[in-house]
């Protein structure tokens, strides 16, 4: 008996539709968010995370109707992020059926939102997502990975490791490490920063950005030290030569010695 690692399907949603970008640009339409959620639930995905990717830049509230539609189809954990500015926004998302809230750029602007969210809803509810970019190591950025925000457009001058440790201390229950350099490449997670974060916090760490093959996922969960792996394109992107089913991925991971909830 032991805790298994998780496969998390990630949706970037615009207007209720799942889209796919490369390096945070050039989105193409994939499917209706609720339809894809239903399909992946039926395929026994472990968890789903949904980002309303334009809510923040359009300065509007998150698309609660789509959150609600997805929540009606998935009876596995469901995380929502994008455009969450305060406790009331969090409360609305949870009442729409999400279990967890992902915060990213807003947490950098106002770190206290992490503490307030954790106090109100429990730390397990607050997922701190961070966009990491490899830079030259310096006294300000000793890890050599800098935090970026606003869809990788804005540098913050903050060190990724220092930031996630601060986030953990403020009450984040999980940390997502999203590599800007690896995102959309299908060349594998950026294992170095994933491992560095996993070794420096005591909450679960989720690898994100770059998975293209089952081997990449296994690497993220072993070499990278992650407790969970976010995947997207390889499940459903029409841009890739082939997509993978959850069973195929789990069979591979279990064969590679990674503890997973078996496909039934």
């Amino acid at each position: 008996m032991s805790l298994t690692k998780r496969l998390i399907a990630c949706f970037d949603v615009i207007g209720g539709r799942v889209t796919k970008a490369v390096n945070f640009q050039d989105n193409i339409d994939v499917a209706d968010a609720a339809d894809l959620a239903q399909r992946l639930y039926d395929d026994q995905i472990d968890e789903i995370v949904f980002y309303d990717i334009t809510a923040s830049s359009e300065k509007r509230k998150i698309d609660l109707e789509t959150v609600r539609r997805v929540a009606h189809h998935v009876f596995v954990p469901f995380t929502v992020g994008g455009g969450i500015r305060n406790l009331d926004d969090m409360f609305e998302v949870l009442k729409a059926g999400a279990e967890k809230i992902s915060i990213d750029s807003m947490a950098v602007r106002n770190p206290e939102i992490i503490r307030h969210g954790a106090d109100a809803f429990g730390k397990q509810c607050i997922v701190l997502s961070t966009q990491a970019k490899k830079v030259e190591a310096s006294s300000a950025i000793p890890s050599g990975y800098e935090v970026f925000i606003d869809g990788a457009r804005t540098a913050t001058g903050m060190d990724v490791v220092e930031w996630v440790q601060r986030g953990e201390a403020l009450g984040a229950g999980e940390i997502v490490v999203n590599s800007i350099d690896a995102d959309g490449t299908a060349a594998g997670y950026e294992l170095e920063i994933t491992r560095l974060v996993a070794d420096n916090v005591n909450v679960p760490v989720i690898a994100s950005g770059g998975a293209g093959t089952p081997e990449h996922i296994a690497d993220g969960l072993t070499v990278g030290g992650a407790s969970a792996a976010i995947i997207s394109s390889m499940l459903y992107s029409p841009r890739l030569e082939r997509n993978y089913g959850v069973k195929e991925l789990k069979d591979h991971l279990i064969a590679a010695g990674v503890p997973m909830r078996p496909y039934r």
């Binding site: 998780r6 949870l94 059926g97 279990e99 397990q124 679960p204």
Partner: protein, 204 residues
């Protein structure tokens, strides 16, 4: 009709969506009056034991739920809804409801805390609430930093392990509870909700 206790810090909507998908009649309950119209009670929970109890107290629900449970109404607590049933929780050093003897402790920091993810549950005996579920080899979704240790070990219907063995599902008479999120544990978790919808509160 199942009453799902709806309080600010809870996740009643997720439980409601699950019951809706299963076609099980239910209503969200926010006050003592609404509780009178139901014949089964689910207390969902996320977040902290102290905040959960404060929020139930504020809604005037604690005595009302206690009265129904003492009358034999089948009751299912989920996650924090399990932890608050015990005597005491280390979380915020909180006195809890004391319906089941035992205490709630924090996982040691030797493993990542909170525990988040799918863990195997081994059932210890037969019970109507676990009908159709395998004895071993099945996984359920947990999110918890604290775990319950019942004084009477026979209260544990299902056990899981994280740092040490802990109670994943507890049953005492008409009071039952899961530490895992039955509403978020896929089809196996939904089976527990289905079983609860016809459970009369007895052991067989």
């Amino acid at each position: 009709m199942i009453g799902v206790i709806d309080y600010r810090a809870g996740n009643a909507p997720s439980v409601g969506f699950a019951l809706e998908r299963l076609g099980i009649a239910h209503r969200l309950v926010r006050d003592a009056t609404a509780l009178k119209a139901v014949d089964r009670i689910i207390l969902p929970g996320v977040g902290a034991a102290d905040a959960t109890l404060a929020s139930l107290r504020e809604a005037g629900l604690i005595d009302a739920i206690r009265a129904r449970v003492e009358d034999g109404t089948p009751f299912l607590g989920i996650c924090v809804g399990l932890q608050v049933l015990f005597d005491h929780s280390e979380e915020g050093d909180t006195p809890c409801l004391g319906w089941i003897a035992g205490s709630v402790r924090r996982f040691p920091d030797t493993d990542r805390v909170p525990q988040i993810g799918w863990n195997e549950v081994q059932f210890t005996r037969a019970h109507p609430l676990r009908a159709e579920l395998p004895d071993t080899g099945a996984y359920y979704y947990f999110v918890n930093s604290y775990y319950a240790t019942p004084t009477d070990p026979s209260v544990t219907l299902g056990a899981a392990s994280y740092s040490a063995e802990f109670t994943a599902m507890a049953v005492q008479g008409n009071i039952a509870a899961t530490q895992f999120h039955a509403e978020k544990s896929g089809e196996l978790g939904l089976q527990i909700l289905t079983n609860f919808s016809t459970w009369d509160g007895s052991d067989a």
